[in-house]
């Protein structure tokens, strides 16, 4: 779950950076660790990572912005990913996504006003034989219809 944690301290950030620093290719594990702990990559971490790995902040920004997963601001309390890929489209995925976004009054990547849910597109969850598929935080749901989607949203407090 991506929770809105309190502002992380420099020590907390430094510990996560250090615990991954000796890996071969340490940057992605570092960014994942920070995001898992804080829900996003906190701004103060940027200079600290750059210093530790001897890369420029520009390079670091390049990496963070390349990947869909990383965010520089916290998401909603829950993240709902709706599959947009072909197998789910074949089972009505587009209509489900459009209806869900319309119901919440959001566009892709938007967060409900109460901060409960951020809706994101995902291109395949590997649930292609039981589409349309969605994922609420780390929980997969298959054959999502209007009823299941409403239940998911209600559970998440959207």
């Amino acid at each position: 779950m991506q929770s809105a944690a309190p502002t992380p301290t420099e020590d907390e950030i430094a510990a996560l950076i250090e615990s991954n620093a000796d890996l071969e290719g340490p940057l992605l594990p570092m960014l994942h660790a920070l995001q898992e702990s804080f829900g996003h990559i906190p701004r103060p971490a940027m200079q600290m990572i750059a210093d530790r790995l001897n890369i420029t902040k520009a390079e670091l920004h390049g990496v963070i912005s390349f990947y869909h997963d990383f965010r520089e601001a916290p998401a909603g309390k829950h993240v709902l990913k709706i599959c947009r890929a072909e197998a789910c489209q074949a089972m009505g995925g587009n209509a489900l996504a459009e209806e869900t976004l319309a119901k919440l009054g959001l566009d892709w990547h938007g967060t409900t006003i109460n901060g409960a849910v951020t809706v994101e597109p995902v291109y395949c969850l590997g649930l292609c034989a039981c589409g349309p598929a969605a994922m609420m935080d780390d929980r997969c749901v298959g054959r999502v219809d209007r009823r299941r989607m409403d239940a998911l949203l209600a559970e998440a407090g959207a």
């Binding site: 890996l23 071969e24 290719g25 340490p26 940057l27 992605l28 594990p29 960014l31 994942h32 790995l53 390049g62 990496v63 390349f66 990947y67 869909h68 997963d69 990383f70 990913k81 890929a85 072909e86 197998a87 789910c88 489209q89 074949a90 089972m91 995902v122 291109y123 395949c124 969850l125 590997g126 649930l127 292609c128 034989a129 039981c130 589409g131 598929a133 994922m135 780390d138 929980r139 997969c140 749901v141 298959g142 054959r143």
Partner: protein, 502 residues
């Protein structure tokens, strides 16, 4: 009483956890064993109850079925699972244990043939191991179909202080889930395959680059590596031999293009997942500039059975230059979706009409996209095409990772072509112009066609040629497959006269 319920994410997505809770409540004394999935996704959650040593299936199960399943009176009884048509007709080499064993039990794994391949490989030289893979005829199951043994030979012959085995588990193609299924259902087979690869080429370190969209697979693989290390399958002196091999699970970050091997390597190094120009080949300058074997999950997971049963056994299945088995993933709008492993050579029509049982909606079949978002849309007229790398290629298609996404007659083929271009634009790494700019122009051009501009069809065709010839990797290079196949096989939907008539 032994009861088996899958913990595969597809089963969980269809309510397996709720079913387990109901079973445990109904029979607290029953032993519930979690497995992978048998691959019959339309029957998930599939509960299996052991009666006189034979596993009887019940599915698709819901929590209210629990009591009747346990006392054998359920109307969802399917009989012995091994006797089901879907299971009996398969040749399960790579997936032999998936759905059968507890994925995280090394004892179960060994009892079902696990580690036999690694033990045999430990008695062989690196060259003998590479030769065995060459003899087996194994080709890259990720889609490219490059002979695995040749790739291993290049890494084997290179001289470097450190070599690597990198497993490409960035299974981003829609319609494919075989990698996920095996990682969740039989993770030790991948670990064993990577260890054998390490012995073959002289690599002591491996990485699995696993996409972040698969949290369950990440959890199972991570745990499996810990167990394998504790059991001496990984680490120093594996299985008491003088050889060492260890590995780590690395999580991707949501970039489709990182399934391309060179961008995967950049990503693993902590860089933007931008494609590298080849040469140099990753086999010579791969991860951190060292010689690296980059193989797909299914390729590596097939290695143990090749060493367990012998290269000739593997090579005895298939057609032409496509040896061994194809792990078909039947998906989209189908009555029976799931994984079906069989020798190469089965025809497209057999898969869709017979195995898949037609569409889920019951409407007429319209098209099947074979090989993921970069694969061609095939109409019914291609149903005689045999599923082999060269044979299917001759019909204008790509087998790719062997995923098939079926569409019924409501599919909007112009919309699907537009989506292919849109997806390419979203996921392009940006390194080469035909892909980065071409995909955006492709969306615009298809929109022009939709508005009734007849000239735009010629422009789209020309653009696709440029993308095919000029792109650095398969993303830009193969996006024309779905676009042009939709245009070629369903010209009416791109026809301006139809638009005008409406």
């Amino acid at each position: 009483m032994k009861v088996y319920v899958p913990m595969d994410s597809a089963a969980k997505a269809l309510g397996a956890e709720e079913v387990v809770a109901a079973l445990q409540e109904a029979a607290p004394e029953a032993q519930v064993i979690r497995t992978g999935t048998r691959g019959m996704i339309w029957l998930e959650p599939l509960v299996e109850v052991e009666i006189d040593g034979i596993r009887h299936g019940f599915g698709p199960a819901t929590p209210v079925d629990a009591a009747a399943i346990l006392d054998g009176s359920s109307a969802k009884a399917l009989g012995p699972v091994d006797d089901l048509d879907w299971m009996k007709r398969q040749t399960r080499l790579t997936f032999a244990r998936v759905g059968v064993i507890d994925p995280l039990s090394m004892d179960d794994y060994e009892a079902h043939g696990g580690l036999a391949g690694l033990k045999r490989a430990l008695t062989m030289t690196g060259q003998q191991i590479v030769d065995e893979v060459k003899t087996s005829g194994l080709r890259g199951r990720g889609g490219a179909g490059f002979p695995t043994g040749i790739k291993w030979q290049t890494v084997h012959d290179s001289d470097a202080p450190q070599k690597y085995i990198v497993c490409n588990a960035d299974e981003g193609d829609s319609g494919t889930f075989a990698d996920r299924m095996i990682m969740e259902g039989d993770p030790f087979t991948l670990i064993e395959g990577m260890a054998i690869a390490g012995l073959g080429v002289g690599a002591t370190k491996g990485y699995v680059y696993l996409r972040s969209e698969y949290p369950d697979a990440i959890a199972v693989m991570t745990r499996a590596v810990e167990i394998a290390r504790a059991e001496g399958v990984l680490g120093e002196n594996i299985l008491g031999s003088p050889h060492s091999f260890d590995m780590e699970i690395r999580k991707g970050a949501g970039a489709y293009v990182c399934g391309e091997e060179t961008s995967l390597l950049n990503s693993l190094e902590g860089k933007r997942g931008v494609v590298r120009a080849k040469p140099p080949l990753p086999a010579l300058e791969g991860f951190l500039g060292r010689p690296t074997v980059v193989n797909n999950v299914i390729s590596l997971a097939t290695v143990p059975v090749i060493f367990e049963k012998g290269a000739e056994h593997h090579a005895s299945f298939g057609i032409g230059k496509s040896r061994g088995t194809i792990t078909l993933q039947i998906a989209g709008n189908v009555a029976r979706g799931g994984l079906f492993e069989t020798g190469f050579g089965v025809t497209l029509g057999e898969v869709i009409d017979d195995l898949a049982g037609g569409t889920a909606t019951g409407r007429p079949f319209k098209a099947v996209q074979v090989g993921g978002p970069l694969g061609a849309y095939m109409p019914r007229s291609k149903f005689d095409a045999p599923m082999g790398y060269e044979e299917f290629g001759a019909e204008g298609g790509l087998i790719g990772h062997a995923g098939l996404v079926v569409f019924d007659d409501t599919a909007d083929m112009l919309g699907m072509a537009r989506f292919a271009m849109e997806f390419c634009a979203v996921e392009s790494c940006g390194k080469c112009t035909p892909c980065r700019i071409g995909a955006v122009r492709g969306v615009e051009t298809i929109d022009r066609i939709a508005r009734g501009d007849a000239d735009a069809v010629t422009i789209l065709t020309d653009l696709c040629e440029t993308m095919t010839d000029g792109s650095l990797c398969a993303l830009g290079g193969f996006t024309p497959y779905p676009v042009m196949s939709a245009l070629t096989h369903f010209p009416d939907e791109f026809s301006t006269t139809k638009e005008a008539a409406e």
